[in-house]
């Protein structure tokens, strides 16, 4: 109990300081609420947007995009990473494209992708997949390359097939590294979804931010949407950390 308090207290304290500083800036500088609304205004708008059913459909759209896109991108990244780790030829053939895809800002690619795949879910999934894929593939490759070769020799002495070696030795041994890649990937998936929604979309938290800023000119709503987005991102990250603890915490 004491330890838990030691973990929670600093978080609460820093939140309180953040809100107070925010309020202080608004109070001292006297910004109008269409420039920087105070924390109380935002909290009130946040609760109203959730209670009148405005926020949920947008949150749902974004969540689906993030989770599906993450799942697809992480799966492809995992498989590619395993392939890259096991074959130097595959690495040489693919790495120029991988690096080029990663080096091209997703923001610049998004309009093109929306043009090709439409403004619905598919374009968001493509963007999320592209952005999640890279860190997962690299983490998997590095993790599997660093598996102790002595374990591989042991597996070989018991006549492990290639598939058994991958599933029972290499991937479990590389799991800490792979989970590190997934943790980066889940936060990138949120970015991917919002970028996709900005490039074109009917619903989603990114769309709501645009609507609140543009046609509604409801800046507190924009901030409330930002808050929702931050909560979604932090929750997903924490879920990843929990999964990680469960899978490798006992080692």
């Amino acid at each position: 109990m004491k330890r838990r308090a030691g973990l929670v207290l600093p978080v609460v304290a820093s939140l309180v300081v953040f809100v107070l500083a925010w309020q202080l800036i608004v109070f001292v500088a006297g910004y109008p609420s269409f420039i920087l609304p105070g924390p109380y205004t935002v909290a009130e708008r946040f609760i109203r947007a959730w209670s009148d059913g405005m926020m949920w459909p947008h949150t749902q759209t974004t969540l689906v995009e993030v989770l599906l896109g993450f799942a697809i991108g992480a799966s492809i990244g995992l498989v590619t990473g395993i392939g890259l780790a096991r074959s130097r030829l595959a690495e040489r053939l693919l790495s120029p494209y991988l690096v080029a895809a990663q080096a091209t800002p997703i923001l610049a690619l998004a309009p093109l992708i929306v043009l090709w795949f439409g403004s619905g879910l598919p374009s968001k999934l493509v963007i999320c997949t592209l952005i999640v894929f890279f860190p997962v593939a690299i983490a998997t490759m590095v993790g599997i390359r660093s598996v102790d070769p002595r374990l591989l020799e042991m597996a070989r002495s018991f006549r492990a097939t290639e598939w058994q070696t991958i599933t029972r030795v290499e991937v479990p041994a590389a799991l800490p590294a792979i989970l590190g890649g997934l943790r980066v990937g889940i936060t990138l998936a949120v970015i991917g979804a919002i970028v996709g929604e900005w490039a074109g979309g009917e619903t989603g938290l990114g769309v709501l931010i645009n609507i609140a800023r543009g046609s509604l000119f409801d800046i507190p709503l924009m901030f409330a949407t930002l808050l929702t987005l931050a909560l979604v991102g932090v929750s997903l990250y924490l879920v990843m950390v929990l999964i990680e603890r469960r899978l490798v915490g006992e080692r």
């Binding site: 002595r150 374990l151 020799e153 042991m154 002495s157 479990p172 799991l175 006992e250």
Partner: protein, 319 residues
């Protein structure tokens, strides 16, 4: 030490007289040579011939880098020989062989699995049923005295206990030949002695043929029926010393005059192969220059004309 240490002796297996191994194998190594073609060409093994009887315990001993561990891997089918071959009961070894169980210098356990699941690893790979795996793992853990550690993770076990798990794993598929690559070299001297005695007990119960690589002369003599001394690279067998010590052997036998005598004999062969310059120098000092035995000499040939510097009872050899 915060890690768990298992009791010295194991419980008898549940399925009482269950055979824990296939019939022991006779092994024949004929003309095995091996060269590594890396950045530099390295001749590792040169014309190795060994015939091993079923249930025999053979120790391979030799200087660092003489290819003992490589020879062990050739026996287990992990490394193919360039020339010559290995047969177990007349059937050639062509790759990693189900009749062989390997124990490495390090336990090489899978850190994310419990002791029991590590022991079950080879059975999983072989596609055994769950029930079969569980029954076999229980027998094996009992055999190495680790039944109550079945659910422990390797990280919570002491080094010796981990090596026991590794030995149980090597016995999983009922091998007829057990290969051990310096299995106890990471253990402290006292634990090591106990493990030597335990290995003999295990050998008595399972009846496998054993080939063991070691750096310890007393260990080789205590465990083996025959000690084979290898030369520096390229490895050749330069001496073959029979240990006619009756079985069952006890730790106390390690201190017997007989064991000391045989150990000194082994050491003499190691000295004249390990570092020829030292041997030559010793020979010169003893006024015996020029009579250093040929490197290829077998034990039987060197015994009669033993040079003066070879004295099994020389005090500094038995410090």
């Amino acid at each position: 030490m915060a890690t768990q240490e298992a009791p010295a002796t194991g419980m008898p297996p549940v399925i009482a007289p269950a055979p824990t191994s296939a019939p022991p194998a006779g092994i024949s190594v004929s003309g095995v040579s091996l060269t590594f073609h890396g950045a530099r060409i390295t001749h590792v093994l040169d014309g190795i011939d060994i015939a091993i009887r079923p249930r025999e315990v053979v120790a391979l001993i030799g200087p660092n880098g003489c290819g003992k561990s490589t020879l062990l891997r050739v026996l287990g089918g992990l490394i193919p020989a360039d020339a010559g071959g290995v047969t177990i009961d007349g059937d050639p070894v062509t790759g990693p062989d189900p009749r062989v169980g390997l124990v490495f210098q390090e336990p090489r356990l899978l850190a994310w699995r419990s002791a029991e699941d590590n022991v079950r690893f080879p059975m999983e790979l072989a596609g055994w049923s769950k029930a079969h795996q569980e029954a076999r793992a229980e027998v094996l853990l009992g055999l190495v005295g680790l039944r109550e550690f079945a659910n422990a993770r390797p990280a919570t076990l002491s080094g010796g206990t981990r090596q026991r798990v590794a030995i149980a794993r090597a016995l999983a598929l009922e091998p007829s030949l057990l290969l051990l690559d310096e299995p106890f070299s990471a253990l402290d001297a006292l634990t090591r002695e106990r493990f030597n005695a335990e290995l003999l007990r295990l050998w008595d119960r399972t009846g496998t043929t054993i080939v063991l690589v070691t750096h310890s002369i007393p260990e080789a003599v205590f465990l083996a029926d025959r000690v084979l001394v290898l030369s520096p690279r390229p490895g050749r067998i330069v001496a073959e010393i029979s240990v006619d010590l009756p079985r069952p052997r006890r730790i106390a036998d390690m201190d017997s005059a007989f064991v000391s005598h045989v150990a000194a004999e082994v050491r003499a062969h190691l000295v004249d192969t390990t570092d020829d310059s030292i041997a030559m120098e010793e020979a010169r000092i003893a006024g015996e220059a020029g009579t250093v035995p040929a490197v290829r000499s077998r034990h039987a040939e060197t015994a009669p004309g033993t040079p003066a510097w070879f004295d099994p009872f020389r005090p500094e050899d038995e410090a």
